[in-house]
Symmetry: C3
Subunit: 303 residues, 3 copies
């Protein structure tokens, strides 16, 4: 991976991801180490769209490795505001750093940045499209909490039509041989073409349902349902209530079932579930630091 | 103090503060040292309300110690803007760093953050309530400039009713045995209950006046009078003029009297006083760095 | 230069600039060195006016040297917003760092900051007035690309009346003995008094024209023409079209001619020129890092 870019989870082979996870295990153990392997590196985190969580996670990873950070958080202070093209901005930034982390609301912007920049580029989210380090965190969390991803029963619950990062997760789960159940309200099902591709490419087990039954589930992965997606606000509220994760609809679930969420969450998980030992999403978020340390090390050819 | 939080000056015993001041003396001497005791630490400075001065002072302290900083300055770029709860934000940030510095306009927010976070939390101001490192700077400045706080005659001048951080300072001065005179316009006197508590708890000497007479004063601590506090703008202007610190109303003061101010100041101190050797508030502000170095070292158990 | 300020290019003698360029050569070679000469330094970059490019360039230079950065980017979060004077803000910041980099939209603000601060101050642009490190980058780029500045034929093209940083560049080129041709639309010529001064002080060769003829040109330095400068929008468009750098109007130029631009550029250079090997402005921008490393080292007395 040295010198390459990380734009989509599809840029990585299963073997590369497994290597990355082994490196992540090592990084997790050396979080507070005094020896800093990247003392001579400067990383630019260009957040054309705000995302404190992702930014802090990358910056914390950089700090743990000894790298310095150039942080852009507010698009209104950029040359873009003066009429400069995106390509010119990236070409200039490329001259100031060793690796670029980019978040932008436009799909394809990270790929474009990678084409222009000589330095490695990491996509930290381009619109609703790709956010590969999030997918890596999701897969790594399952591996950590359940020892393996293969044959693990994973339910993806929520709006699977518009939450398009769920497509990347499905792809990753298929690649690692998980048994996936897609649970969504009627009308918010995942795109059939995406499911077909994952099934045929990885001979993956993927089933679909509109029912909130988690009796066989090992890992429950929750994402939001947005009211704006419904024409009828009454319908929206009804569906939101029905698909909310509560103590009630988790009755019958395995006691050791793990609940994950990409965060931030709003009200899709009830307080009693939030307080349960099954809820592991804050630990999941924490893995963002060692995962991103591993990605940075790999792309800079230091691992 | 290792592993604990610093939310209010009341969290500290006099002995702990004295230890902190000795550590501050040491920190002040090693500001530009090449050896960095906190190379492996990451500190998050979460400023939900802007305060460049306090933020820079904490970040400078972190840098002098070799720690890295994750800096949040603009609430509009946070997940809070997406509807996430304050508690979720803190729980996530807690996973990315070793110590949290928080400033928030709501009273009690720092205490809430401390309850939620596993990492030590330092309150850098929660509304009009507490700002313990400012109180430490104030006490330390008196100790540095006057050799001791005990028996020193300290006048607190200005709006003592609404400038509630003055209550913490009074508490600290009482704890250290200073002779305090409270000088405020009629109607802006300090809350009687606060005075009573300090008197009875520390057998402190606290007197009150509305007169600008500083003939016995060793340390003059000035804070603002805000026009908005008066119903009548004519009355406001009259009081502001009368309580402004000028060469005129300092006639008769001891030549070695020290003037302190928490800064920023607007027009409550006249230019001729600003230029006098008695004005020591920029040195006072500068002590913010070694004080915060000492606090960070203590809370991380490194001192 | 140790302990001094850098406010205007006129603060430097030719010998000092040459020393700085030799140091820049060294800095350029040690960009990724693990040894950090300024581990104990804290640099405040106070951008009262946004400029991501300049800020990143200074922050990258600081990082390469091992120095820490306190970054102010948004004036709305400063004490200035609370009514504090600029002088008070600078005096406070002066107590938190070892060197101040300042950008402000008001002319003379950097000089004022330098008068108030005990620490060295670098002007990173004060309105349309001075931006000395940009002039140093421009001169250094010519020296790097053309081996020497003396006797090199340099054309400055564009709005030379309002783009006042061009005056500093003309001054620098005169000082180093370049042959300068000033090319501008009618009505946007450079101030005659500035030209006279450079001619008489350095016996410099400076000629003026309104014609886009670059047959003798070694270095073409392009700056923008702003529509707002014209009373008549039709006239503005006509002039912009005529003064745009295109493959067409570069016919007859020397094949090894170098094109420079301070960036950001909008549409004053055509895509075919942008893609040509003559276009060197992104390399020019990149020199901003070693130049600023050299300036910081000099002002901190570490070179």
């Amino acid at each position: 991976m040295g010198g390459k870019d990380l734009i989509s989870i599809r840029d990585l082979a299963r073997e590369e991801i497994e290597e990355l996870f082994e490196l992540t295990d090592k990084m997790d153990k050396r979080l507070a180490s005094d020896s800093k392997p990247l003392k001579n590196a400067v990383i630019a985190t260009l957040f054309f769209e705000p995302s404190t969580r992702t930014r802090f996670s990358f910056q914390s990873a950089a700090a743990r490795l000894g790298a310095d950070v150039l942080s852009l958080e507010d698009i209104s202070t950029t040359s873009a505001a003066k009429g400069e093209t995106f390509i010119d901005t990236i070409r200039t930034m490329d001259g100031y750093c060793d690796l670029i982390v980019i978040r932008h609301k436009l799909e394809g912007s990270a790929r474009l940045a990678a084409d222009v920049a000589e330095r490695p580029v990491v996509n930290a989210g381009d619109g609703g499209n790709q956010h590969p380090t999030q997918t890596l965190i999701d897969l790594y969390s399952i591996r950590r909490f359940k020892k393996r991803i293969e044959k693990t029963n994973v339910c993806l619950v929520g709006d699977l039509k518009y939450a398009r990062t769920m497509r990347s997760l499905l792809y990753g789960l298929g690649m690692f041989g998980a048994n996936v159940t897609l649970v969504s309200p009627k009308g918010l099902e995942m795109d059939k073409a995406v499911i077909s591709e994952v099934k045929s490419r990885f001979s993956a087990s993927v089933s679909e349902t509109n029912a909130m039954d988690f009796s066989d589930c090992d890992v429950l992965y929750v994402c939001r349902i947005q009211k704006e997606r419904f024409a009828d606000p009454y319908e929206a509220e009804k569906v939101q209530k029905e698909f909310r994760i509560t103590g009630e609809n988790l009755k019958g679930a395995k006691p050791e079932m793990v609940i994950l969420h990409p965060l931030p969450k709003i009200d899709e998980i009830a307080p009693e579930v939030d307080a349960s030992p099954n809820a592991r999403y804050f630990e999941q978020a924490k893995f963002g630091v060692p995962i991103r340390m591993a990605v940075i090390m790999k792309l800079l050819g230091k691992a």
